[in-house]
């Protein structure tokens, strides 16, 4: 078994996709010789050439807009947005063009574009480098939005996203880029879980934690700590934010009767709100407590000296678990 980091898992996934389909091209800032600021595209330009790994001008709208044009010509562009906070200049191209063009064309065009976005905080960065903006895109019809959390999953999810004929916003938890896991030998894309399925990553009986991206690790640690106090937590990695796998989550909540949703993004109109609404509708008679949310506060992402206060951590997760159990 080979041990890989999350960054390497995506890197090897990109490589596999490029080897499998000559129409796959990568576009982004500094993704060529540098290999991207997080080295996710390391070595790919050297092996696939400048025509397939394109160092673009520093213009995010331009990246997505030209990727749309390339997709219309039959290519499968994978765009890298350097940091979450830099996606906003591309907002119109993603929301008004990429997401809507197929419906506008009554199905006559297909836009297999992947937009990779390193997401979230916890790396001590300056402003605009730590944001969690998934709710904007999950709110947009016509986009698929996923968020990986571990190296093996990421390796296959990126390949599934590239194979998707629909546009995919692909979030990568940047503070987990260096986390390692073993990639089992012989495991193939065909064995991988479908892209839009949620995964129970730890089974438990008392409370369900619904979580994705960087907070999955935090929640697993919280579950381990809770176990010492005889609290059995089930951790569900949502993986896909749009569409949401409500079935898997509902099955868990019907078993535990309690749900806490955890994410880095501000809770106000965040993914947790949608999850809470869906689960309240589906599991009303199974719920022993209201669905609780743990997330960022409704303030601009603070300066990095304060980010540990802003970001949910193990203790805030367990505090919510205690509040849920108190009902």
């Amino acid at each position: 078994m080979a041990s890989i980091t999350l960054a390497k898992g995506i890197n090897t996934g990109l490589r596999a996709a490029m080897e499998a389909d000559p129409k796959v091209v990568l576009m982004g800032e500094d993704i060529g010789k540098l290999g991207g600021v997080f080295r996710v595209t390391d070595g790919l330009q050297k092996d696939f050439g400048e025509h397939r790994v394109i160092d673009t001008p520093l213009a995010e709208s331009g990246i997505i807009g030209t990727a749309i044009g390339m997709a219309l010509r039959g290519y499968r562009p994978v765009c890298e947005i350097q940091f979450d906070g830099f996606v906003y200049p591309a907002f119109d191209q993603i929301v008004s063009q990429l997401a809507k063009m197929r419906a506008r064309a009554l199905g006559a065009v297909t836009l297999p574009v992947v937009v990779r976005i390193p997401v979230g905080g916890g790396i001590g960065a300056v402003e605009h480098h730590s944001e969690s903006n998934e709710a904007y895109f999950a709110h947009t019809a016509g986009l698929r939005v996923v968020c990986c959390s571990d190296p093996v999953d990421a390796h296959f999810m990126i390949q599934q996203a590239i194979a998707s004929d629909d546009p995919v916003i692909f979030y990568e938890p940047k503070r987990r880029y260096w986390e390692k896991a073993d990639l089992p030998e012989g495991l193939t894309l065909g064995d991988a879980m479908p892209l839009h399925r949620a995964k129970v990553v730890r089974e438990g009986e008392h409370v369900t934690l619904a979580v994705y991206g960087p907070m999955v690790k935090t929640c697993l640690e919280a579950a381990a700590a809770a176990a010492e106090e005889e609290h059995s937590l089930e951790v569900v990695d949502l993986r896909s934010l749009s569409p949401l796998d409500v079935d898997t989550l509902a099955a868990s909540v019907e078993k535990t009767g309690r749900l806490v949703v955890v994410h880095e993004a501000s809770t106000f109109v965040g993914m947790g709100a949608e999850v809470a609404a869906r689960i309240s509708e589906r599991c009303f008679y199974s719920l022993e407590a209201p669905v609780l949310r743990v997330g960022g506060f409704n303030v601009p992402y603070p300066a990095s000296k304060l980010e540990e206060e802003f970001l949910p951590d193990l203790d805030r997760v367990l505090d919510a678990v205690d509040r849920s159990l108190a009902y």
Binding site: P57, G62, T66, G69, L72, Q97
Partner: protein, 384 residues
Amino acid sequence: MTDSAVGRGEAVSTVDGGPELIQLLTPAGERTHHPEYSRYVEHLDADDLRGLLRDLTLVRRVDTEATALQRQGELGIWASLLGQEAAQVGSGRALAPQDYAFPTYREHGVAWCRGVDPLNLLGLFRGVNHGGWDPDEKNFHLYTIVIGAQTLHATGYAMGIQRDGAVGTGDPSRDAAVIAYFGDGATAQGDVNEAFVFAAVQNAPVVFFCQNNQWAISEPNDRQTRIPLYRRAAGFGFPGVRVDGNDVLAVYAVTKAALESARSGNGPTFVEAFTYRMGAHTTSDDPTRYRVAAEVDIWKERDPIVRLRNHLLAQGLVDDAFFEALQAESDQLAAHVRQGCLALPDPDPLSMFDHVFVDEHPLLQQERREFASYRESFLDGGES
């Protein structure tokens, strides 16, 4: 802001287009020689020239009919091309079949040249769809309403052509180019400027075709630029030319040259077609609030159709029989547009769920099912 605070320096939009305006037909319809561009129209024979007059006449007729349909409540809105027929037909007829056009929402004349049924343009304006044609069928992309967004799509498409090895091979049936349409107002957009940067550094086979119709709704050129627009290209590193947009021959020649340059691997060209929006921005606009009638009168003297007609009359290439036949064809086309418009079916409410995804997901399917059964509950109630 006082008037003295804007529009300083040279006039950005002199009424006559300035000394660098490329022209092959004077407003009176006399042929002039241009050392660089005359050769691009030399092959046009009498049939070709009559064909251009036919195009100009028919697209204006479609436009007139659509405006009437809006006034009668059959279209929600219409964006008229009145006055810009030559810019659109001249450039549209310069395209090779394998070239690809990315329009704004006003390129009805280009659509005509690409063979899109004018009826298909009406769906968007009638509110029955957002775009009623398959772009790949005629290599004519859907109308784009967000100003300038399509210039990036055009550039990306051109980058795809490069990667397909369909540039600079010397095979005239293989080498392809893209033309991106936009207006003077769009030149202020970030997307347009980003498209220029991407196209320049990639040396992409794209022609940026700007119809400078002098007005971005109510804002004249001097609220968008301090220099004539075609000169912007130099700063991006590719050629820019200003052509008389009401001279169909000059537009044809300049566009043909730019497309050939792109197809042969010489990268982008910026073409500024200097023209005039004779009508309102759309049927919802009231230009009397911001421009004077005398300005419109000046441009009436430069009507693109009159110009070509005078030329063909002087050359003895058209006669009464030609005009009678054209009138009949024009009437027939107008009837087709009118009848077709009235017959456009309202969409099935459930069709809004179609085509959002290639691979529909369960939540969307669930919404469709629930909405269908909600609607059916009313039908049941009515029958009982």
